[in-house]
C-alpha cells in the first residue's frame, strides 16, 4: 500500500468528519443489507419447506372428508341436468326361454334374478331368502348350489349387484345387509359365498341402489333411514333418518344414482319424489383401507393390495399403503445391511490403520462413488447384476461366508509369514495381500458353489429353493440391497470417517503412551467416542436409502409384495410416485393417495434426518468436553 501523497501544504489529508460519517453510514447500510438478504434466504428456505408440506397436506386431506348428502326438493320446472337417471343396465334379466331349459325345483318361485358380469352364472332368489345358482353352460345340472341368503326366519327384501357385477348385496326385513361373492372352492367349483355383513339398519331394508362406476351403494329402510355404504367398509359413510319419509303416502320404494354419483334419486312407482345432493368424492379411502387388510371383490381372502388402476370400467382401486411402506423399508434395510458394515469398517481402517498418502487417496476414491448417477447403478443392477446373481447366487453367499474365515486363518498364521510381509499394517503391501485374499476367496466360493449345486441342490439352487416353497425372482431385494448399498456406502463412509478423524489426537496418543495396542485403542477409545457420529452417519444413509428412486425403479420388478423375503421383489413409495404420478387424473382418489405417499416419504426422511442431527449435536458436545 502506498502512502497518500502529501499535499502542497505538506500535511497529509485525513478524511474529514463528514466523510467518515458517510462511510460509516454506508457500512451500516451494507451491513443491514447483508443481514437482511441472509435472513431472507434462511426464512425463504423454512417457508418453502413449510409451504411444500402444507401443499402436500392440502392435496391429501380431502381424502378424509366425510361424505355428506342433503335432501333437495324437485324443481318446479324440469331441468335437463335434473332428469331421473335411467335404470342401471346391469339389472337386465335372462329371458324366460333360457330359464325354461333349466331343471328347477318345482316349489321355487323366482322373485329376483341376477346375471354375473361374464354372463356365465345366474342367481335366482325369492323373498323367503332361498337362492339357487345356475351355470348357463350346464342347463341340465339345475341348481349347482342352493343356499339361504337370510337367516331363514326373516325374508329377503332387496338384492343388487355392485358395479362390475362381481359382488352381491342383500338386504332383509330385519335390516341386515350382507355381501356375497362368486368364488371358486378348492375343486374349482363356483359357489356363492358369504363374505361379510354390514352394520345392521334399524328397520327392514326397502331398497338398495348401487353406485355406477364404483363399489358403493345406498340403502333405504322402512323407518325412513337413508345410508351410504362402500363395499370395503362395514360402517356407513353417511346416514340420516327422514321420519316423514316413512309415512305411507310419501314413502319411496326405489333409489337410483345418476351417472356421476352426485345425485341420489328417491322414486315411488317410477315417479321422482325428491333427490339428495351427495358429496362423496373418495369413499374408497379411509385409514382402514389404507393400513389394514381389505377383502376386495372376487378375492379369496382379505389382503394388503396396491393395484391403483386397471384402465377399465368398474375398476375397484386398491390402495393399501402397507406393501409400499414395507417395500421401502425392505429395500432400505437390505441396502443398509450391505453398506453399513463395509462403510464403517472402511472408515475405521482408513483412519486407524492407513498411512497418510494412501489414506486420503483411498477415502477420496470411496467418496467418488457418490458421484455415480443412480440411474447408471440401477441400469447396471437390472441388466448385469440381476442375471449374474441369479446364476451365481450360491457363490455370492459362500463368498460372504468364506472371506471372514480366510481372514481369521491369515491372522492366525501371520507370524509364519515371511518377514517382509509382516511390516506395519496399512502399507501398500498389506493392501495387495488383502486383495489377493479376496480373489482367493472368490475363486474358492465359485468352485465350492459349482460342487455344492451339483451334489446338494440338484443342479440348480433356484429349483431347490422353489421346492422348499421359497420363490426366487431375478429382480429381488438382494439385487437392490447390493446396488443401493453401493450408492449409500459413500454417505455412511465419509460421515463415519469425519467422526473418527475428529477424535482429538491426545486421546489416542495418551493411550499409546499407556501401552495400549492398536485394536485396544480402536475398541475402547475410537469407537465409543465416535459412536454418535457413526450412528448419525447411519441415519443419514438410511434417509438416503429411503428416498432413493432410480435404483429401485430399475432394479426391481416393482411388484407390491408385503414380505421381507430377500429373494423376492418389492415396490417402494418413491418408485410408485415416479411410475404413477403421470397417469393419475388430477383430483382423483388415486392422485390424492399419491400425495399421501409423498407425505409419508417426507415424514420418513424428515425423521431420519432430524434424529441424525440430534445425535451429531451430542457428538459435538462430547468432543468439546474432551478438549
Amino acid at each position: 500500500m502506498k502512502q497518500q501523497e502529501p499535499t502542497t501544504l505538506g500535511i497529509s489529508r485525513l478524511p474529514d468528519a463528514q466523510q467518515r460519517q458517510r462511510r460509516a453510514v454506508k457500512r451500516r447500510l451494507l451491513d443491514s443489507l447483508w443481514y437482511g438478504l441472509i435472513s431472507l434466504a434462511g426464512v425463504t428456505v423454512i417457508v418453502a419447506l413449510l409451504a411444500i408440506f402444507i401443499y402436500l397436506m392440502s392435496e391429501a386431506l380431502p381424502l378424509f372428508k366425510p361424505a355428506t348428502a342433503e335432501l333437495r326438493p324437485l324443481p318446479v320446472t324440469p331441468e335437463t341436468s335434473l332428469a331421473i337417471p335411467p335404470r342401471a343396465v346391469m339389472d337386465t334379466a335372462i329371458s324366460a326361454e333360457v330359464l325354461q331349459q333349466f331343471a328347477l325345483p318345482l316349489s321355487f318361485s323366482i322373485d329376483f334374478q341376477l346375471q354375473d358380469a361374464l354372463k356365465r352364472y345366474v342367481i335366482l332368489a325369492n323373498r323367503s331368502g332361498e337362492a339357487c345358482l345356475l351355470q348357463l353352460s350346464r342347463p341340465t345340472a339345475g341348481c349347482i348350489q342352493r343356499l339361504s341368503l337370510t337367516d331363514r326366519t326373516v325374508s329377503l327384501t332387496a338384492i343388487t349387484w355392485l358395479a362390475g357385477q362381481q359382488s352381491l348385496i342383500t338386504g332383509d326385513n330385519s335390516g341386515q345387509l350382507k355381501q356375497w361373492f362368486l368364488l371358486a372352492d378348492k375343486d374349482g367349483q363356483v359357489r356363492l359365498s358369504w363374505v361379510k355383513p354390514f352394520q345392521q339398519r334399524n328397520a327392514a331394508i326397502v331398497s338398495l341402489a348401487a353406485e355406477p362406476g364404483r363399489s358403493g351403494f345406498a340403502v333405504l329402510d322402512a323407518a325412513g333411514g337413508l345410508s351410504l355404504f362402500y363395499s370395503t367398509l362395514s360402517k356407513p359413510l353417511w346416514q340420516k333418518r327422514f321420519p316423514d319419509m316413512a309415512a305411507a303416502r310419501a314413502a319411496p320404494d326405489e333409489l337410483r344414482f345418476n351417472a356421476t354419483n352426485d345425485q341420489l334419486w328417491l322414486l315411488k312407482q317410477e315417479q321422482a319424489l325428491s333427490f339428495l345432493a351427495v358429496q362423496n368424492k373418495h369413499p374408497e379411502i379411509s385409514w382402514r383401507t389404507l393400513w389394514q387388510k381389505v377383502w376386495y371383490e372376487s378375492w379369496q381372502q382379505p389382503e394388503y393390495v396396491w393395484q391403483s388402476s386397471g384402465g377399465a370400467e368398474f375398476y375397484q382401486g386398491k390402495y393399501s399403503l402397507v406393501p409400499l411402506t414395507v417395500g421401502t423399508l425392505k429395500a432400505a434395510f437390505y441396502a443398509m445391511l450391505v453398506a453399513v458394515p463395509l462403510a464403517i469398517l472402511a472408515a475405521l481402517y482408513s483412519v486407524c490403520y492407513l498411512a497418510e498418502p494412501l489414506r486420503s487417496r483411498l477415502s477420496n476414491l470411496i467418496e467418488l462413488i457418490a458421484l455415480f448417477p443412480t440411474v447408471i447403478i440401477g441400469f447396471l443392477a437390472a441388466i448385469w447384476l440381476a442375471p449374474a446373481l441369479e446364476q451365481h447366487l450360491l457363490a455370492l453367499l459362500l463368498f460372504v461366508a468364506i472371506t471372514p474365515l480366510l481372514v481369521f486363518l491369515l491372522a492366525k498364521y501371520w507370524a509364519v509369514l515371511p518377514a517382509f510381509l509382516q511390516r506395519p499394517t496399512g502399507s501398500k503391501l498389506t493392501l495387495l495381500l488383502m486383495l489377493l485374499l479376496l480373489l482367493l476367496s472368490a475363486a474358492a466360493a465359485f468352485g465350492l458353489a459349482a460342487l455344492a449345486e451339483y451334489y446338494f441342490f440338484d443342479g440348480s439352487l433356484q429349483s431347490w429353493l422353489s421346492k422348499q416353497g421359497i420363490d426366487y425372482q431375478q429382480r429381488n431385494a438382494l439385487v437392490v440391497g447390493l446396488a443401493m448399498g453401493f450408492a449409500v456406502l459413500p454417505v455412511v463412509f465419509s460421515l463415519s470417517y469425519d467422526a473418527l478423524a475428529q477424535i482429538p489426537k491426545q486421546l489416542t496418543l495418551g493411550a499409546y503412551a499407556l501401552g495400549a495396542n492398536q485394536w485396544q485403542i480402536v475398541q475402547r477409545i475410537m469407537l465409543p467416542v465416535a459412536a454418535p457420529g457413526i450412528l448419525a452417519a447411519m441415519m443419514l444413509g438410511l434417509s438416503r436409502a429411503i428416498g432413493e428412486t432410480m435404483i429401485i425403479l430399475m432394479a426391481t420388478g416393482n411388484n407390491p409384495i408385503t414380505n421381507f423375503n430377500v429373494f423376492e421383489g418389492l415396490r417402494s413409495l418413491t418408485a410408485t410416485l415416479a411410475i404413477e404420478l403421470p397417469e393419475a387424473a388430477v383430483n382423483s382418489s388415486h392422485y390424492r393417495v399419491l400425495f399421501l405417499v409423498a407425505i409419508l416419504l417426507f415424514i420418513f426422511t424428515f425423521t431420519c434426518n432430524t434424529l441424525a442431527d440430534l445425535v451429531r449435536q451430542r457428538l459435538r458436545r462430547n468432543l468439546q468436553r474432551l478438549d
Binding site: L118, A184, G310, N364, D471, N558
Partner: protein
Amino acid sequence: MQFSRFSVLGLLACALLLPGYVSAGQQAAADFAEQEYPALSSPALSKLTGTLSSNGSDTLHNMMMLWRREFVAKHPQLNIQIQSSGSATAPVALIEGTASFGPMSRPMIMAEQRRFRNRFGYDAYAVPVALDMLALYVHQDNPLQQISMAELEGVYAQNRRCSYHPAVTLWGDLGLTGAWQFRPLAVYGRNPASGTYAFFRQRALCNDDFQNKVQQLPGAAAVVRAVSLSVNGLGYSGFGQQIAGVKMLAVSKDPESAAILPSAEHALSGAYPLARLLYIYVNKPPAQLLPAAEREFMRFILSAKGQQLLLSDGLVPIPEELVSQISQELGL
C-alpha cells in the same frame, strides 16, 4: 487431478449407456416411395410451423418417432415433441391441454371420456392408426412352443375368474418336463399406466387383478429385455418388440382350437386372440376441423406411406375402409 479424471470417465459412461436404455434402439429401415403421401395442393400448408406435442402410449412410441421423422422431413419448420409414459397419461395430457395428440393402446374408458367432456363439452376423438398384436415371450432356451388363454390366466391372474384354471407357478404346470419341470416361472408385465396392461387384463384375465408377483416394468422394450435376461421368464409385449434372445409363443383361444403365432393376416381375421387397435386421441370439436398442422400429421399417418411405415415396427396397417371413413370424418 485424479478427481477430474474420474468424473470425465463417469460422464463418458453416462453418455454411452443412457441413450441405449432410453430409446429401444430400434432403427427402422424406412425408405418408401415418395408418391404414397401426395404433396399438398394448398401452398399455405406446405410451410407448417410451430410445435406439436404428443403424450401417451409407450407401445406407439417407436411409431410416433418414425412418423415424426418422415413428417418433419417434409415440414422442417414444424417441431413435434413425443413423450411416452403409458396410455393412461394421454387423457390427462389432453384434458390439461399439454398435448395435442394422445396415442393410446386402448380405447378411453367412460370415466376418462367423462372428465374430457366436463372440460370441453364433447368427447375426445379417437383415430385408429394401427393394428397391434400382443405377443407372449419366453427365453430362447425355453422348449415351450405354445400357451392357451386359460393357462395365461393361470399364470397372471389372482382369482382366475375367466376359466378357473388352476394356478400356474412352475414350468411343469405348462407341460414341460426334465430340468424345466420344477423351474418356477418369472412373470413380467407392464405397469398399470400402460394400455397394454389394461388390454391384457381385459382380454386374458376377464378384468381380474394381476397377482402381486407379476413384475411391473415401465416400457414395452423393458419387458422383452427382462425376459431375454431371465431363463425362466415369461412376459407379454407388442409383436414388434422382438429382440434376439427371446422366443414368441403361439397362443390358442381355447384348448380345442389350434395355437397360432401372431401375424398380420391372423390379426385382421381375428383368429389371434390378442390383437387390438391402437389409437391417437385428438381434441376435435364436433363439426370443426382440426388445426392445420395436426390435421396434416393425421393425414400423413393415415396415408399409404404412413401406414406402410407400420410394417417396419411390427404393426399392421388398418383396413382401407376404416381409413377412408376416418379420413372423411376428419375432412382430410
